[in-house]
Structures are given as structure tokens and as C-alpha cells.
Symmetry: C2
DNA sequence: TGCAAAAACTAATATTATTAGTTATTATAT
DNA sequence: ATATAATAACTAATAATATTAGTTTTTGCA
């Protein structure tokens, strides 16, 4: 009956991550988390701002981790090679952390600033990876949006079991990424155009 | 106090759709739906198999509607033009029905057969749209997976507010779709390869 | 007109999130 | 070393939701 001590935020996040990634984010409740930590549900409020706060902390932590991995993957590479490494690492993360990945893109919670910040850093990283291609700033923005769509779309559909057939998913992913990468020069040389809008 | 009558499944689905699309799927509860319909929560069980059953019915109905719109968009067109029309209609649907769209890709519920069936029809439709390109069956499967990733990825990120900058989203979408479409010939002529796997 | 089926209802239970108020433990400061 | 302040656990209570069981009302048909 010893009152438990020494529970800190990282331990809470670690336990929550495990629940979210192994049983799905709908199974991550304050009740299930408290049970896993051998404390009572209300005690969690000492560490986290309710369920929305918990999810947000998980999202922030997960996005930071993803950013680190992506940075590491891109360091020392450029051009197509860098983007392919980025893409592989992205999917790897989504597969290793399905729950956290989903939370990463969820509705902004209490503490949304941190998530937004890391999101911005991630876009900056992509912006740097675009430099090799000699695109306009505006073109880069559109291309980055496209790339994010590609990566997230595949990861999300795969996670939800959207791809039924027993055909190698890694091959599909490589084909998708290669196709997109191959299209970037077409944006550069005007075969695929981005008419300038007013708002810059 | 007259006990209400004449409530049928379509009316239930209509009301649920409205809640899901205007307030988000997390706001679609049996309680909120019952209130909208002026009945008590348990009465909903006469029409629907609990909350999972409701969500599934919504998903099935929504996917059927999407399939119809996509079929209509593709009729009389082929090749790039057909795919672009398909893509535009897809995004249009996701924007008009954000809640239902999200449910469409959710976890398979009680009645998952109908959703799976329509999903198969949708892939068949795409398979027909691929015919113009002269691809292998296997190549077509990979390309379709890619196209679905592209469309879903953009729709999903847009819905979650993932694109922050005040730059025209329709332009980004067109660029993304065009880039992908432009890549299909590269698959055809072997510049982007799909090594054959064992499992057919 | 009566009867069977459908669809509403009330009542009750379990789960979850959350708030308020309390107690115990830890760390600090005298 | 001891008193005190802060931290983090706890219990108790409330509200919202989903769900089941059992009942009543209404409808449509025989």
C-alpha cells in the first residue's frame, strides 16, 4: 500500500505511447493509462491537462522525435537521394508508432504551440531539401505540400488497412515516391505550372 | 407528448451526417443524435447497432455516394482527363463531407462487408481508368495505390489544417495530381520500375 | 375490432472524464 | 534535526455517455 512516488512526465508519456501504439488511440484513456501506471485516474491531472492535454503532449513528443529522425536521415544527402531517405524514415516512423503518428496530425489541443513549432521546423527542413532543385519559393511550397500529401496519404491508408491485396507495400511506396520525385523537374522547367496568386 | 413515429433509417443517417460534417465525428454521439431527432438515446437501437453500427452505416452510405459521384465524373472520359476529373470530385466530396469522409476510412465496424464491397467497386473503377495507359496488371495496382495515397493524403492534411500558409490550396492540389499523372508513362516505359514479387 | 410487430419509452448499470477537497510524502529552510 | 511548503498521491462526488432489460404505445394487418 505504499503510496507510489517518482512518477514523472517522461514515464507517463512512455506508458501512454505504448498504449496508443499497441492498442490504438481510442484505447488510450485516462483510465487505461492510470491502470498501467498503478495510480488512480485523478492523479494523472498532476502531470497532464486531462485527456486532451495528454494527447497533445504525446503529439508534441512524437513530432519532435520524428523531426529528429528525419533530420538525421537527410543530413549529408541532397536532391532525390535526400527525399527518398526522408520518405523512408517517415514511413518507418509511422509504422513503428501508429498511435503517436495519428495523434501527431490530430486536432490541436491545449498546448498546440509546441506541435505547431515542430511542424514549422519540419517544413523548414523540407524547404532546405528543396534547394537543390532550383525552384521558386512559391513552387517549393506547393511541392512540399505535395510531398507531405504523398507520405501521409500512403502511411494513413496503410495503417487503416486500406490496401487489401497481398502485394508488396514497400514496392508501392517506392513507386509513389519515385514518381513524385521524378515530377519535380517538370515543375522547375514549367511543364507543370504554378500560376502566381495574389497573396504570395 | 405524442410518441414520435415515422423515423426511418434514412432520416437517422441524414441527421447523423449533418452532425458529423458540421461538428466533427467526435461530436457524433448517440446522445447528440437522439437530441437532434427528438427521441431518447436507447430508441436509436431500433435503427442502428450502437455507435459503432451508426458510424459504419454512415461510412457505407458515404462511400456509396462517393462512388456514384466518381463514376459520374469519369464517364465519357479517359486517360489524364479522367483521372483529373476523378481527383477533383474526390476532393470536392471530402470537402463537402469531412465527417463522413473520415468515417469512410475508419476502422471496420459491425457491418464492414458493405464498405468493403464499395471499396472494391471503387478500385475496379480505377482499374478501368488505368486501361488507357497500357500498364501491367501489377503496375496498375501499384499506380492505383499511389493515386489513392495522393488524393487521401491531400484531403486529410487539408482537413486537419495541416497546410498553414495562405497560399491557394487548389493550385497545390492540381500540381500534385498533375505530377503524379505525368509520372504514369514513366512507369509504363520502365523508367520507374516495379520488380515482380513472388505473390502475384 | 383485435392482434402482432415495430418503435418508442423508462429504469438501471458500467465506463469514462473531471473537479473538489484531503492526506501523505518529499524537499527545503531554518 | 525539525518545521514547513510544495508536490503528488488519494477518496468522494458529479456529469456525460453507451448499453441492456423490460415496458408501453402505436401502427398496420388479419
Amino acid at each position: 500500500m505504499s503510496p507510489r512516488i517518482g512518477l514523472d512526465l517522461p514515464a507517463v508519456i512512455r506508458a501512454a505511447t505504448e498504449i496508443a501504439d499497441t492498442h490504438g488511440i481510442e484505447s488510450l484513456t485516462l483510465a487505461s493509462l492510470a491502470k498501467k501506471l498503478n495510480i488512480r485516474t485523478p492523479s494523472l491531472y498532476n502531470h497532464v491537462d486531462g485527456l486532451p492535454g495528454l494527447r497533445n503532449k504525446l503529439a508534441a513528443h512524437g513530432l519532435e522525435l520524428l523531426y529528429e529522425k528525419l533530420t538525421l536521415a537527410a543530413v549529408g544527402r541532397s536532391g532525390d537521394e535526400a527525399i527518398r531517405a526522408f520518405a523512408d524514415t517517415y514511413l518507418e516512423f509511422a509504422r513503428a508508432h501508429p498511435g503517436v503518428y495519428e495523434l501527431t496530425l490530430g486536432a490541436p489541443g491545449p498546448d498546440a504551440a509546441e506541435v505547431a513549432e515542430t511542424g514549422k521546423k519540419l517544413v523548414d527542413l523540407l524547404m532546405r531539401l528543396m534547394e537543390s532543385y532550383g525552384l521558386t519559393h512559391l513552387q517549393s511550397i506547393h511541392v512540399i505540400r505535395g510531398l507531405r500529401s504523398v507520405l501521409h496519404g500512403f502511411a494513413s491508408l496503410e495503417q487503416r488497412g486500406g490496401f487489401g491485396l497481398p502485394i508488396d507495400l514497400d514496392v508501392s511506396y517506392r513507386l509513389l515516391v519515385d514518381t513524385f520525385v521524378a515530377g519535380i523537374p517538370a515543375v522547375r522547367n514549367g511543364k507543370i505550372t504554378v500560376e502566381e496568386q495574389g497573396e504570395q
